[in-house]
């Protein structure tokens, strides 16, 4: 018992911090409680993790292409064991077409027009890792991906303006399997959400030090958002084009983008956290070791 008391005494944080003075008002002032919905958080986070990994894969393969002459998309398809043209059908529901003017209805012809890289990203999103076999894992076993059917209602592509030393980005928006997905071409992929989720808090990605010394957010909002602004002293409106915004001058603090409708009412709140610190970067550098440790534990568990 003494040893457990020692654990209690080793608590590194004796008490939590006080909340920021305006947080309560900020939360309760601009939105209303909603009815309970099925929780999809974990699944969405898993998808996000996969998408971020896909981004790294695409970048890595792009470099490989430059040196070996192998088409990066073909290489990725071989690695993942998926086919970017398989399992695609047209979703006639029109999901998202009313809310996102960037989306054009999907037809057989428009799928042919879709960039190959985007087709691959969609195939990757519609895939899941197969579970490991029962019992000990045989030597040389490799996990593989199961490709799910993809029903596409519409898609569209646009280019952002960039600015402040940040180049423009090609982005795509796709309505697939009852979700709205937002892709950054250069990084391979971004994230997906329901219409309601995007309407409430957008879909966004914030990037630091690319190019060095810059920090920017790229994101998606619905047609309902007529004006978008950074809710922080000294910062103002951010232009929206084809439902997409690209803010290249951000506060060095956590803040919200506020999207207002035609009546000036706030309908979308997009949270952006503080820039990461040097200590946090060091944590990131240690992270691959944690991933390896996690793999070791998985192997050990399978062998027991």
């Amino acid at each position: 018992m003494k040893r457990i008391n020692r654990l209690v005494d080793a608590n590194p944080v004796r008490s939590g911090a006080e909340p920021p003075a305006d947080l309560f008002q900020s939360i309760t002032g601009t939105s209303t409680p909603r009815h309970a919905r099925k929780r999809r958080k974990v699944r969405r986070f898993a998808t996000r993790g996969m998408l971020a990994t896909l981004a790294a894969l695409v970048i890595g393969s792009g470099l490989a292409w430059a040196t070996s002459g192998v088409d990066p998309i073909d290489r990725l398809e071989r690695i993942w064991g998926i086919d970017r043209n398989a399992g695609v059908s047209i979703d006639g529901s029109g999901y998202g077409l009313e809310e996102f003017s960037i989306l054009e209805p999907m037809t057989d012809g428009t799928f042919e027009d879709m960039p190959e890289r985007l087709k691959f990203s969609l195939a990757a999103i519609g895939s899941r890792l197969a579970p490991p076999p029962e019992g000990p894992i045989p030597d040389g076993f490799r996990r593989y991906w199961i490709q799910e059917p993809r029903q596409i209602a519409g898609w569209g592509i646009t280019t952002t303006g960039g600015g402040d030393g940040v180049p423009s980005e090609n982005v795509a928006v796709v309505s697939m399997n009852g979700r709205i997905c937002f892709f950054m071409d250069r990084f391979g992929a971004s994230s997906c959400g329901s219409i309601n989720e995007v309407a409430r808090k957008g879909l966004s990605t914030t990037v630091s030090d690319d190019p060095p010394g810059t920090r920017w957010t790229i994101g998606l909002v619905t047609d309902q958002v007529r004006t978008l602004s950074i809710d922080y002293p000294g910062f103002g409106e951010v232009p929206i084009r084809d439902n997409v915004f690209h803010a290249t001058d951000l506060p060095e603090d956590r803040f919200f983008f506020l999207g207002k409708d035609e009546n000036g009412s706030v309908v979308t709140r997009i949270f952006v956290s503080k820039p990461i610190t040097l200590a946090q970067r060091q944590f990131m550098e240690r992270a691959p070791h944690k991933l390896e440790a996690q793999r070791e534990r998985l192997r050990g568990r399978s062998e027991r």
Partner: protein, 175 residues
Amino acid sequence: MDKDSPEERFERVFAHYGLIEAFARRRGSRDSAAIAAETLSIAWRKLEILDPEHCRPWLLATARNLLLAEYRDFISEPVDPGTIEIPTDEFPDFDINSIDPEIDRALVALDPIDREALLLVAWEELTPKEAAESLGVRPATFRVRLHRARRRMELALATGEPGTDITHRTGVDHP
């Protein structure tokens, strides 16, 4: 403000800001205040399903999911396309740093989910029933997990060989 207005109910939920912020900081969050703010923002939107008098397990489960997203953002950067495996069904292995190095080493020897069971009771001061709810397991399952975690922790401290696999050395099996 009405007695049972959403704002008043939310005030009682909001009072747990410190609990969530400390929980996130203990698990190595890069922005514990943001995790707490986002957790409470979700709580506000889901207020109808929350009991303000008994919301601590839900708040910590939500914060854990947000931490998991933050953690995955970290680990997803540098990967080798030839060897990638994504541990999507694994319990998150958060970066725990106590103020006692020996405790740290003993904690590292535990499975992440056993460690979480122990810490929810020791540091977050949840009751076993609350901790079970936060982890989404039955109270009986949680008690077994907690007992096992305590035993392994004590063994790790007693042997002074932290970081080794206590399970193998003592013959204690995973259920």
